[in-house]
Amino acid sequence: MYDIIIIGAGPAGLTAAIYARRASKSVLVLEALSYGGQIINTPDIENYPVAAHISGFEFANKVYEQAQALGAEFVFEKAVEILDSGTEKTVVTTDNSYTCKAVIIATGSENRKLGLPEEEALVGRGVSYCATCDGAFYRNKTVAVVGGGNTALEDALYLADLAETVYLIHRRDAFRGDEATVNALKQRENVKFIYNSTVTKLNADKRLTSIEVTDKNGEVSTIELNGLFVAVGRIPENQNFAKLIKLDEAGYVSAGEDCITNVPGIYAAGDNRTKNVRQLVTAAADGAVAATEAVKYIASL
């Protein structure tokens, strides 16, 4: 039996592993895909204290090596359920099950999709969820960004430097994101705003060729383009634990800054928790808090 099982090897989970190991607890980290989490998509991190410039890939490697050197164990399996029998918890994965005293859920979030039937088949053939990852393919081409939050605005601004034309499609007539970014976009001649509209169809011939946009009056228009960047938010990856753990309306774990969930001995850390600021540094902070709470809980058993 492990002291602590951490689900997810992103910045929150890896930081939790570091803190738990430094408190001499045995630690198993379960990861479905690869350590690092979504930060590996970021080419240059400029807002993490001490590191003025570091790539997400390098950051992930360093934290992973640090956790491993401290003695955290890693198993690459997807956790599908947590069973709670009071002082003993079982984490079931696709291949095995592991027991422990405390669990930290640090599963992060994934991109929200538009939900159009052709969407999945066109990922990598014109549909993208990451402008900094895939923007380079659209140099001097025509692209559209869907969404109204900061990610959509920043994506549009990033793409405006590369692409010939950037359409920014938003279902409302005002943006939720920062006014400064909106103003910066309005200065760009190659950015065209399409308000009160949603993308209703993707047309493709081997790759995306055009999209159909429907406005609030039901009027349909077609936009010829090469790429569509979807930035309509993220979905926390908590569905597998919803039976046991209390989630908020949007699916995030209902836990305060102390990372404590409704189940004693189970904690939530990082982007999958209800919080206002989802940043690398707050994910790491959650990892430290959750691990410290878990250590305290184990001492009380």
Partner: protein, 102 residues
């Protein structure tokens, strides 16, 4: 095992005319998920001799990326007898990549 870097000039011989099925890994130096995927590809390349792995740098070989409709990386395109038979976009765990081998 070394993974052969393929260019527009060598693509036909290395990929289309290969006796074995080929998994072409479209990638770039600046792409974090591509770097994450690399150790898995290296491992599979040394474990499996029924398939050939090649690497294509999309910054240097943008014509190939365009020709094969690659617009998101990492992208693994599987070729058999000179034809694309499967592809996988994004970082995937090893078992998923094994499933791509024809």
């Amino acid at each position: 095992m070394n993974i052969t870097e393929v260019t527009k000039e060598t693509f036909e011989n290395e990929v289309l005319k290969s006796d074995k099925p080929v998994i072409a890994d479209f990638n770039a130096d600046w792409c974090g998920p591509c770097q994450m995927l690399k150790p898995t590809i290296d491992q599979l390349a040394s474990e499996r001799d029924d398939v050939k792995f090649v690497s294509i740098n999309i910054d240097e070989q943008d014509d190939l990326a365009y020709e094969y409709n690659v617009s998101s990386i990492p992208c693994l395109v599987v070729f058999k007898d000179g034809k694309e038979v499967k592809r996988s976009v994004g970082l995937k765990p090893k078992p998923e990549i094994i499933k791509l081998i024809p």
